[in-house]
């Protein structure tokens, strides 16, 4: 049963990084939607349901952590994978407390992200059919 998997949102302000992550996910068969900021993600077409989000911590405007906090109330259960280019224990602690699936330091190997996506899509509250063919 290969039903169309729902998209993974990639929220990342660095255009080049965003493109790279999207390509990687596409190559593994996941459709993606890219957003350059937390704000554009929040104001997206509500039709665009997403299965999980890959969220950069340092964003212009609202930070990734802030968005994570909001989603906890507005969309509880939406799995979040944080990615960051900064080593900061406090931030990492806070992100973990938000209940993220994974917290990845750029540059990260593909396996870590793909495994995290699988884990996210396999999470109980989500459709379990994101399996790759």
């Amino acid at each position: 049963m290969e039903s169309q998997p729902r998209a993974v949102a990639v929220i990342e302000d660095d255009a080049s990084m965003r493109k790279g992550v999207e390509r990687l996910l596409n190559a593994h068969g996941f459709p993606t939607e890219g957003y350059a900021s937390a704000e554009t993600f929040l104001h997206r077409d509500p039709e665009n349901a997403v299965a999980c989000i890959v969220l950069d911590i340092q964003l212009g405007g609202m930070s990734g952590l802030e968005l994570g906090c909001r989603l906890q109330t507005s969309d509880p259960g939406l799995p979040v994978i944080f990615i960051t280019a900064v080593d900061d224990d406090v931030v990492e602690l806070e992100a973990t407390r938000l209940g993220c699936i994974a917290y990845l330091h750029k540059p990260f190997p593909a396996d870590l992200l793909i495994d995290a996506i699988h884990a996210a899509l396999a999470a109980p509250s989500k459709d379990p059919d994101g399996k790759l063919g």
Partner: protein, 605 residues
């Protein structure tokens, strides 16, 4: 009161029953080849003309090392006492300083003596306002004659290129050439290369066609502000040149020039000696010009295949057999980089500069050490944002490469996409490389100040690129309002950027306790009415307590647990090194503002 009459034109040495006395004044000490060669030639000529029946005296005034009035007065007093019983009949003044000295103090030292001089041009002499009876042998260069030598050797030349540097002296030479060359160049197309860096001069010279003539005047300073001894800059250019190179100095021989027309120290000395001889003989003397000499390097003639027979009559060739040039050019070039044109003056300037440099070297080394420590501290403080900046392109490269690997596993890989991925990887690699290059430029330890002229607005832009990640991390909003015009300053760019970084990190630290939307850092530049370039850095922190405004720039003043207390002190040292001022104020609306100004550089106005 010379009573010698010499009706037959032969020398009569009987000045009231004694030998005539000639005092030769050397402007510097006894170790300067330029004045020594001129003086020795003058001595030899005087001895020869008088068959040794002459009393010669030499005094080394040392006016380069002791230019102050106290020394001049002491020297004048000393000489007046020393020569009170031996009043000279003629004083030979070598160089501008000696001439000024004796003109001003003749009444004390030798009130009855005739004064003759050599070593500078009529134009310089006009500036000295010499008394009418002070007469000299002027050094006037004729660059047209250097060209004439070149065109005799290269009759088919189609193009003349003239190179000159960026110092006032260099520019005066170019102006001279522009006035005097057109009369002789005829149909030869002439290009003046000025305002370039030494590398650019070398590059242009290397691209010439062999049917060109290259004349190098002087490059004391190039566009980037690098200083040279003209022989050294000439040598770099001539070595790379793809066409025969000429120049107006004998000191250029052996450094790659074919030759040129010049005034030698020897002819300077013998011309002024001739004036002295006539003066002793009671003849009326008036200003003369030191005769010109054509000089050529036979090895260079051979290198370019130029016919020796085409050299102007009387050309002195070096490296041929033993000649006056072969004997002397090394003596001339070896001691100190001295030029024939006002060589005496320039030698003095070089010594003066070296002396000043030695004195400044120590304090400069301390400054450079302090700046380097400061640079390292800044790099440490910014390391988190540097890592962030680097990890972005590295992250993108990794994801792109991993994606490409997956795509390549397919039986029908999407080659178009893979090509795009490879192109993006290359771009990101470039981005990472640029970050590292910027950092290295920022952190490079200097052994000396790298003087450059640059636009302050541009330097701020560079510093902000380094800062922006840190500002973003700290949620500080950075804005900059640049003056509409360029703001050229002359300093070491890296040092000024370090000041900007210090002021910016200081301001960001001051805003730690402010809620994030209120953290604002504003850079503003302006050109003031006093022709100063000014930068202000304002923050929205809590300001500086009034009693501390004056002491924030003191070393080890700090309110920060992590601060070294040196950032602002080093900022002040740097700004003052470049002739500027730095100060702090509180803004009426809250927060502090730090300002510095620097003199507007003249070159770009």
């Amino acid at each position: 009161m010379l009573t010698v009459v010499s009706p037959t034109g032969t020398w009569s040495a009987e000045i009231i029953g004694r030998l005539p006395r000639v005092l030769i004044l050397y402007p510097y000490d006894e170790r300067i080849p330029a004045t020594n060669i001129a003086g020795e030639t003058a001595r030899a000529r005087l001895l020869e003309a008088t068959q040794g029946k002459i009393d010669l005296f030499s005094e080394f005034l040392d006016l380069s090392r002791f230019p102050d009035d106290v020394h001049i007065d002491r020297m004048a007093r000393y000489l007046s006492e020393k020569y009170v019983e031996h009043q000279p009949d003629v004083v030979v003044a070598l160089g501008e300083e000696s001439t000024r000295f004796i003109s001003q103090n003749r009444h004390r030292i030798a009130p009855e003596a005739k004064i003759v001089f050599a070593g500078f041009s009529a134009e310089t002499a006009a500036g000295l306002n010499l008394p009418d009876d002070v007469v000299g042998a002027f050094t006037e260069f004729d660059i047209g004659k250097t060209f004439e030598m070149a065109i005799r050797l290269q009759p088919n030349a189609r193009r003349l290129v003239v190179i000159g540097g960026s110092s006032k002296f260099d520019e005066a030479w170019i102006a001279n050439a522009r006035v005097n060359l057109p009369a002789v160049t005829g149909g030869v197309e002439t290009t003046y290369l000025t305002g370039l860096s030494i590398d650019e001069f070398v590059e242009h010279a290397a691209r010439l066609t062999p049917d060109s003539i290259l004349i190098v005047l002087t490059v004391f300073v190039d566009r980037s502000g690098r200083n040279f001894i003209p022989q050294a800059s000439l040598e770099m250019i001539a070595e790379a040149a793809a066409a025969p190179t000429y120049g107006p100095y004998s000191t250029y021989l052996g450094r790659g020039v074919v030759g040129g027309n010049t005034v030698t120290f020897e002819s300077m000395g013998s011309s002024v000696a001739d004036l002295a001889i006539d003066a002793i003989a009671g003849k009326t003397i008036s200003d003369v010009e030191v005769p010109h000499t054509y000089v050529a390097d036979s090895r260079q003639l051979e290198r370019w295949g130029l016919p020796e027979s085409a050299l102007p009559a009387g050309t002195v060739q070096s490296f041929e057999e033993s000649s006056i040039w072969a004997d002397h050019w090394q003596a001339i070039t070896g001691g100190i980089g001295v030029l024939a044109m006002q060589g005496l003056v320039i030698a003095g300037l070089l010594i003066e500069r070296r002396k000043r440099q030695t004195a400044e070297t120590q304090s400069q080394l301390h400054l450079l050490e302090a700046v380097h420590l400061n640079q390292s501290a800044t790099a440490g403080a910014l390391s988190a944002s540097i890592a962030h900046e680097l990890n972005q392109p590295l992250g993108a490269i990794r994801s792109n490469a991993d994606a490409a690997e997956i795509l390549l596993r397919s039986d029908t890989p999407d080659l178009k996409l893979i090509r795009q991925i490879v192109a993006d990887i290359r771009d990101d690699d470039q981005r990472a490389g640029d970050i590292i290059m910027r950092l290295r430029a920022m952190l490079r330890k200097r052994s000396e100040i790298d003087w450059q002229e640059f636009d302050l607005n541009e330097a701020i832009g560079g510093a902000l690129r380094i800062l922006h990640a840190e500002a973003a991390r700290r949620r500080v909003e950075v804005t900059s309002n640049y003056a509409a015009t360029q703001l050229p300053v002359r300093a070491d760019r890296v040092h000024i950027q370090q000041v900007i970084l210090n002021l910016a990190t200081n301001a960001m630290d001051a805003m730690l306790d402010v809620v994030s939307p209120e953290r604002k850092l504003v850079f503003q530049t302006a050109l003031t009415r006093e022709a100063k370039v000014e930068l202000s850095v304002s923050d929205t922190g809590c300001g500086i307590p009034g009693e501390r405004l004056a002491t924030v720039f003191e070393p080890f003043y700090t309110t920060k647990p992590t601060g070294t207390g040196l950032g602002l002190a080093i900022a002040r040292t740097i700004i003052e090194t470049y002739g500027g001022r730095i100060w702090a104020d509180n803004r009426p609306e809250g927060g502090a503002v730090f300002r510095f100004n620097l003199p507007l550089a003249q070159g770009l106005q």
